[in-house]
Symmetry: C2
Subunit: 137 residues, 2 copies
DNA sequence: CCAAGTTTCGGAAACGGTTGTCATTATAGT
DNA sequence: ACTATAATGACAACCGTTTCCGAAACTTGG
């Protein structure tokens, strides 16, 4: 029993490759992009498996997920604790924003109106300093 | 020229029916649901037209749109001013939350990190008092 | 009222990211 | 190693949404 105490399943080659790739940078990337990158470096992995692995990781709280207006999901290895994200809409550069303030606010608002079991979605999108300097709108 | 000063197109029967239906309640409803409801009451309107109309209305700021985790869009006639929503995840009962506080907070955070042109997504989901009383989790 | 020019309609097909299917393959406890 | 069990992955299905495009309905000038 060297494994299986972390809420994830088995340590397969594919999952190790996905998590390793996620460790390399802290940019948000789509499942399809991660899949491409793995194939490009000669790792034979199926798109389905990438999706499933990311699902598992996000369920386990190991990665953060955001949804673009277009509907696609972006994934990133997760910092500790609850937080939100300030994401550049051009280059996906991301800053983590500590969350407690907003969450307390949300809980208070909800209680005032008799709502329980509150969840929230909060993401900030903007143009980072570099992209703004390059004239990207 | 009795029309055309509101950013919407012509006042067609279909668009009037959609906006009339939106006026009836302030629940969030999906395009498909609105379409069903119109057909059910004998209004012959195409699903495409419902989607287009809702697109136009939301571009014009006449309706609010939220996106469920599943990816579908829900529409509701719009209150004045910037605000967010506290939505019951079971019955879609909705409370409008005035937005200024959060928006100022967002702008300040963004500026601290050199980001400009900030946009935000914020929705609160919870279980309303009635649904909680009926034991819905 | 008629004709020409626009706008809108709406059924059907396309789209795109995601999830399901299921036979094959790999993993890990014994 | 052996075996039960979980994971893989090519492919197809899904599902809300958008696009296409010919037909129908307005609008406007004459």
């Amino acid at each position: 029993m060297a494994e299986e105490a972390h809420g994830l399943g088995r340590h397969t080659r594919q999952r190790l490759q996905v998590t390793a790739l996620l460790e390399e940078t802290d940019e948000f990337r789509s499942a399809q992009r991660l899949h491409e990158m793995l194939r490009a470096r000669g790792v034979p992995v199926g798109l389905t498996t990438v999706y499933r692995t990311l699902q598992i990781l996000s369920d386990a709280g190991e990665v953060d997920v955001i949804r673009l207006p277009s509907g696609e999901h972006l994934y990133r290895r997760c910092g500790a604790g609850r937080h939100h994200h300030l994401v550049c809409r051009h280059c996906a550069r991301t800053v983590e924003i500590p969350g407690p303030g907003v969450e307390q606010w949300a809980r208070r608002i909800a209680r005032q109106h008799g709502y329980v079991d509150v969840a929230q979605t909060l993401e900030l999108f903007g143009t980072c300093a570099d992209c703004a300097a390059q004239g990207r709108t």
